[in-house]
Symmetry: C2
Subunit: 359 residues, 2 copies
DNA sequence: CATTGATATGAATCCTACG
DNA sequence: ACGTAGGATTCATATCAAT
């Protein structure tokens, strides 16, 4: 195995994003979350309807000459991200309409493969004070595999569990980062102008990483990614240029308590053991010529040899036989068939778990 | 005025999109809605969980060699759209993650100015059958002015009215086009693989066009844009290559009934008449040294000359005076002040409407 | 007629571990 | 790396038949 010496693990590297990235070995990171400058192109002051000045993003780090300069900057850090990402890793990038189309186009051109564009639908957005457009109530996240056809981690069942046991969709309703969660500077003002809510990072990390994975955030800010990574038992690397952000992030992450549960460990993703009929027969869990019934107790077919079942017309796998009965193309035979034990129906699905336990 | 001879008004031009566009005069169109091919890049067959083949988009018109070919195609029709659009017109483009980032980037590069990216959040999306990603439950619309700083139509109050009198946001919850609305071919199958819901076009047209405006759709399909344009008293031009789509669209639009109400006419957008205090005084609606009260009947200030009001400290406009009392920078004085008529408080806001009516 | 249940379907970048 | 067998996977609506 290649023992890569990866620097900055569970640390914050203060410095230029691309320069620090260049020190990280290729294919060493499982997950990347990037919240780059949005290049908002705001001009002048925006007044609230009350007449106060709205405190938006006016930071120096959000200023670029033009689209071309912004594109070039993004191409640099995106290429480095692609290099440090493991072949089966994935990357999330967040933006809004000012920059996300440039990022998406760039990423496609670089060979990233978009898995989803996820909409962060803000439940409490800043209104459009002047009534000149629709209230901009969302931001867009791009979730990409390293390349077309590349593998990636997706904890489908964990996401489903967190969504009232329904398949999670591409639109997420999450509130802004406000209240106690919003980090304040010594002056009582927000410490960072674009701090992301932990709920957003929790979903991202639980969806697309495993316990012990390494999560990289090249625009670490006040460290939401690091805090959530630590909370759920992931490792992190933070890169941040601004010293005051680094300071805030460090003390924040120190205070984080680790949570270990079925969500963070990926326990919900476990798959049933792969056991063959042959093995079950050999171990005595199935009998020769065993009769298979459906849930209602209707006789369907008989074990034929040690691999297939027969309905006297033909010999098929349990899956194909279940599908045949249901007039479908595919069906899971383990879930369809029952056998008789002590005059009662017993699901064959239990057998593979028992076999796995006792062997 | 320039009397442009615009062809194809309230007709469907059958032919190549760019070729037909080239026949339309520059700066002649108020609104464009474009639903181009998405370049879905699907491969092979997708099976439903039941084992049946899912009938997605396999049309020839959605096939392109690669991103470059797609980009070049889009650049051509987008440039023509920009040419035919009036300086104060706007354009909507719809897509999903396969193509929208390319379109957005292209449009920014061409000088279009993004006003909003609007999310069509589908209430009943097709699930992800295999559980491999988040269910793709939305599409993205780009709404752009012709250039930075260009004017555009936005019927803010109409949108607010339709959203339970709250400012409309950038995420719209709208269902898929199904049921009776979905046009069927003679075989009973969907006539077009990607027919858009009328609810979507209704919102777009009511938000960003005026009665009598000309709405262009360069990818007309089965004519949802034309049907909704006609319904709300707008003119349309449809461009569609496929003869069978044109046929369906024509008969569809013929059956459309025109609806004329406060939404379609833009009546909700009317602004209060601009009347000066001087004019009100001269016409006798205000008296010399008239006393101004707040809603509670508390005396606030006195008419000072014929342009300002005075609280004995200073002489200000009614707006600045209202703001001063409320300790704000700005406030609408017309809505704040009342006068005494027949021993009752009467809003001064009424005066400018009365003046307008009788003069 | 109201209710229930089975079936159909919608812009889709839709499997993976093992040999 | 590549082919193949095993087996895991769906939500909201509309329609229509059956009760």
């Amino acid at each position: 195995m290649n023992e890569l010496k990866i620097p900055f693990i569970n640390e914050i590297a203060q410095g230029d994003c691309v320069q620090v990235l260049s020190q990280i070995p290729s294919k060493s990171v499982d997950l990347i979350f990037a919240d780059p400058p949005y290049f908002m192109q705001t001009e002048g002051e925006l007044l609230r309807t009350s007449g106060e000045v709205f405190s938006g993003v006016t930071d120096e780090w959000d200023k670029f000459e033009n689209f071309q300069a912004y594109d070039e900057f993004c191409k640099l850090w995106l290429k480095e991200c692609q290099r440090v990402l493991k072949d089966n890793g994935s990357i999330w990038v967040i933006g809004s309409f000012q920059n996300i189309f440039r990022l998406g186009c760039l990423m496609q051109n670089l060979g990233f493969w978009i898995l989803n564009d996820v909409i962060w639908n803000k439940s409490n957005p800043v209104p459009n004070f002047k009534g000149t457009r629709f209230c901009n109530a969302h931001e867009t996240l791009l979730w990409c595999a390293k390349s077309k056809g590349a593998k990636y981690t997706f904890n489908y069942k964990t996401m489903k569990f967190l969504n009232a046991n329904k398949q999670e969709k591409s639109v997420w309703n999450i509130g802004l980062c406000i209240g106690n969660e919003r980090l304040k500077g010594v002056n009582g003002k927000k410490a960072h102008s674009t701090q992301k809510p932990e709920a957003l990072l929790e979903k991202i990390i639980l969806a697309s990483s495993k316990e012990g994975d390494l999560v990289l955030d090249p625009f670490f800010g006040t460290g939401t990614t690091g805090a959530v990574a630590k909370k759920f038992g992931r490792n992190y690397i933070g890169i941040e240029q601004n010293e005051s952000y680094v300071k805030v992030a460090k003390s924040r992450i120190e205070k984080v308590n680790i949570v270990r549960n079925e969500l963070s460990t990926g326990a919900l993703e476990s798959k049933p053991p792969r056991v063959s009929l042959k093995a079950l027969l050999k171990a005595g869990f199935l009998r020769e010529n065993e009769k298979f019934y459906n849930k209602k107790g209707e006789f369907i077919c008989t074990l034929d040899g040690d691999e297939k079942v027969s309905d006297k017309e033909e010999s098929l796998s349990i899956h194909k036989m279940a599908a045949k009965v249901l007039k479908k193309t595919n069906h899971n035979g383990w879930e369809y068939f029952y056998i008789l034990r002590e005059n009662a129906l017993s699901p064959i699905d239990e057998l593979r778990y028992k076999y796995n336990q006792f062997s």
